[in-house]
Amino acid sequence: MAAGRGGGWQGVAVALLLLAALTPAGAASAAALPVVINTWAFRTAAETAWRVLESGGSELDAVEKGCSQCEIDQCDGSVGYGGSPDESGETTLDAMIMDGNTMEVGAVADLRRVKNAIGVARKVIEYTKHTLLVGESASLFAVRMGFPYEDLTTQKSLSLYSEWLNQNCQPNYWKNVVPDSSKSCGPYKRREEVTYREEHTSSQRSVHNHD
C-alpha cells in the first residue's frame, strides 16, 4: 500500500532513469555496437567476421566465418590443419560455437581428418540436440553433414613431429612413468610410486603453442 502511494520521489526517480537512458552515454554505447573481438592479432579472421556482419549475417555467422578463416589461414600454426601434431604425429581439431540468445552450444573435440572444425560445431547446434561430439564419431558426423575427409598432415606438421622424435620426445606431458619421460620416448608404463606434485609451469606453452 505504502509503495503504491509512493508519492513524488518515485516518479522523479523513474523520470531520471528514463532520462539517463537517453543521455549521450547511452547513445555512445549504441554507437559502439556491433563489436567483434578476437584473441591474438589474427587480422583476416577479424576482417572476415566484420564483413559478415556488414553484409547482414548473424552474430553466429560472423563467429563461424571468422574462425573458419583462421582455420584456412592456419593462424599462427595453432589453428586448423597442419599444426600441433600429437604424440602420434596426427593433427586433431577442437572447436565450439555458442548462441548467447538460446544458450545453445555446438562443439567438437579430437576431430580427425576434417578441416572446418567450427563449421562442424555449428552443425551440432543446427542438426542435433547434443552439445559436444568427439573423436572418430565426430568425424563421422561431419561427413554425414557434408564435410569432406581430408588429410590434416602437412610437411610442416611432419617436420615438427620428426624434430620432436629426434629430441627424445621432448617436451611431453607425461609424469610418474617409466622410462623417465623427461629423458626418453615411450611407450611408458606407470611408475609404482606416484608423486602428487602439480608443476604449474608454462615451459611447454608459448605464443605459438596454445589452446
Binding site: 591474438w40 576482417e47 573435440a109 589452446d211
Partner: protein, 141 residues
Amino acid sequence: TIGMVVIGVSGTVASGTSTNGAIHKLPGRVGDSPIAGAGSYADSTAGGAAATGDGDIMMRFLPSYQAVEYMRMGTDPTVACQKVISRIQKYAPKFFGAIICANTTGSYGAACNKIPGFTQFHFMVSSPLLSRPTEQVVDCI
C-alpha cells in the same frame, strides 16, 4: 587458437573458438577450447568472453563463464578479465593465458598473466568507433 566474441547491434552475443590444441599432446587430449564456459561463453543478457593459453590449466577455472558472470554483476570488461586471471594466478602463478571480454553495451577489455616471454597480449577489435579491424595490446598482470 582463436577465440572470438561478436555482439550485434541489438546486443545479441555469440562466441566461438577453434584450435589444433597443444603440440605433442597425448592422443585424445582435449583442452579448454571446445568446453562451454572454458574456451568461450556467450550470454546475451550480459556479454561474452573467450580464453586462450594453457588449456589444461585454464579449463579447470571456467574463465569465460566467470568473466561473463562478473560482467553480469556490472563489472567493467577489463576488470572482469583481470579478476579471472587473478583467480587462476592464485593456484598457478606461472600459467600461460589470456582472456578477452565484451559486454552488451560494446565495452570490451582483455587481460593476461605475465610470465617470462609473455608480457603483453595482442587482440583484434572491430567496431563502428574504429575505422577498421584494429590490433590492440594489453600489458599482462
